[in-house]
Symmetry: C2
Subunit: 348 residues, 2 copies
């Protein structure tokens, strides 16, 4: 990119950067790959265009920062990059960036231009989550056995690009939205008794987790099952994992865990295990969110999910994974999950 | 507690539970130990008192749940305990608990009655945070070397009571509020180059982290330095670590990291390293929070902190740790922190 700009300058041309249009109108749901991806619309950004100049400069600035990071073999967070880019252009009162969303946008542009997830540009996302199971990895010169890390497990880094899988003995991966549920399964040695890998974040799924799940799915050939609360937010966690998100559509293929399946908890689980009395009444935002999700392209023709949405709507209520504890503290690891997996009782 | 209640019943007495009063009026700032603790006011809860009966029952129910957990050697989260306690009393329409705050209160009562942190009652707090350094621990039968866990580090469990420190080679501990800063220091092998331990959460400090810091301070005899943003919220993180919090005053001695020192970032750091241009303007809630914190018993006569508060108030602005990145990505690990530690430039 730098060389092309220099060549433009040398030849007296108006320096330009070409990049795909990042707008809702250029985001398509690809039915074949079942993911949200960018369309084919391309735009040009010119240095000599008053409406483009600042963005052009920001893009080049971020490109330079990323190049330095890669060369120095160091990683920075989005916030770090913002502070590194934030300086005043000499003899002016103009800052390269004033707000973090400007450098963030420039980083997303770099992802579009290079086709690399920002992790490969050495710009990291948030760090969150834990993992345990019979897997040995190599990372930063250390050999780490995920089955020998006590009650804590391995802390998942924000950037998992350089991890190497050395050994793995597991039949599947369960990813859950709640750290407390992970601790339950971990204390019960669920991964040992059921020959699997357990992984969690707390709330939102970070890019590091998505990428790690994707890599394990592809490189270890393991199915991924998603365990969330029974509410629109839980199903959205699954949705983002599987299909990608609108804001990150340009990088879907690097993050989406295409094969993952929704394990629960489902409306049927609630009826089967008599958990209706642990319902939490829908608030208005739950109703709205459910209506939104029901209309997503990838859900609207999916009978199994539409059935779940219908039941949730009729219940006017949601339920948490931890409601299982009402049946006994280890009910989830001794009965609920083994039965679900054995009877292949998931939705996709 | 159970035996005493049974004895009361056998003797035809009104069953009672004695427990310290948990109200602001009974919370004192102990200048000698420099912590918030419970006063000496004690109240009695009677079974045959319409105003007490339900709470009495809830306390006994939670005590029974905790006893089972301890006997089964299993741990539950607050949410789990809520679901375990939430059931309808046969032949009535009355639930033992309806909302989680009822079981939470009963758990706090159990802490008061037994003098044990709820972690010892096998009821866990949230799981959060990572740690790295030259420390070897034993946990759940595994031997874990915190210096050999790749880029992720060890994921700190919610309950650290059963961890044993086998070996430790470190001169101090730095605890920071931001996982991104931890990743910066970790990538730079700060703990290796400076012979220390680095530990972080993300935002609020969990009980697991507080207890782990406390145990390391006491058992490994290591000083703890706290690194936060320059804002009232960062200083409050330090305040809770060192002095305890009002809501957990009854358990302060189990959680407070009495000796910890505030490392930064301070107003002086900002001036010294010319970071004023990275200030973020105060919002109204920042102004309010700063005023509140300035008046805390343990800060109001502390000249060093009052000086910081005054400067922050005059700046009408806050600053983030990551602002250091403006001076170079590894400025924090190569210059800022080593200089601060070397010159003992902290506040306490």
């Amino acid at each position: 990119m730098g060389k092309k700009i220099v060549a433009d300058i040398d030849k007296g041309r108006n320096p330009e950067i070409e990049l795909p249009v990042r707008a809702l109108s250029n985001i398509v749901y690809d039915k074949k790959t079942c993911t949200l991806t960018m369309g084919k619309n391309v735009a040009k950004r010119y240095f000599f265009n008053v409406a483009h100049t600042k963005k052009f400069m920001q893009t080049v600035e971020v490109a330079a920062i990323s190049k330095n990071l890669v060369e120095e073999k160091k990683h920075a967070s989005l916030r770090d990059v913002f502070y590194m880019a934030k300086r005043t252009i000499p003899n002016t009162k103009i800052n390269v960036v004033d707000e973090q969303n400007e450098s963030d946008k420039a980083i997303e542009d770099m992802e579009l231009i290079t086709g690399c997830a920002r992790e490969l540009l050495n710009i990291n996302a948030n760090k969150m989550g834990s993992v345990a199971g019979k897997v040995v990895i190599e990372d930063s010169g250390d050999t780490i056995d995920w089955s020998k890390l006590g009650s804590g497990g391995w802390s998942i880094p924000s950037n998992v690009e350089n991890i190497k899988f050395e050994k793995a003995k597991a039949k599947y991966i369960i990813y859950m939205e709640k750290a407390a549920v992970w601790e339950r399964l971990h204390e019960d040695k669920f991964w040992d008794n059921n020959n699997c890998i357990i992984m969690s974040s707390q709330g939102q799924t970070t890019r590091g987790i998505r990428r790690l799940l994707q890599r394990m799915q592809e490189e270890l050939k393991l199915p991924v099952y998603v365990l969330t609360d029974f509410d629109p937010w839980g199903i959205y966690i699954y949705s983002v994992l599987k299909y990608g998100s609108i804001s990150l559509a340009h990088i879907t293929e690097k993050l989406a865990v295409g094969g993952c399946k929704f394990l629960g908890i489902t409306a049927d689980d609630i009826l089967k295990y008599d958990l209706k009395r642990h319902f939490i009444k829908f608030e208005e935002n739950d109703v709205k969110r459910l209506a939104q999700i029901s209309k997503y392209d990838w859900f609207k023709d999916n009978k199994d999910f539409q059935r779940q949405f219908k039941m949730m709507k009729d219940f006017k209520a949601k339920a948490e994974i931890q409601a299982m504890s009402a049946r006994g503290i280890s009910f989830i690891s001794e009965k609920y999950l083994p039965d679900k997996i054995k009877s292949q009782d998931w939705i996709e």
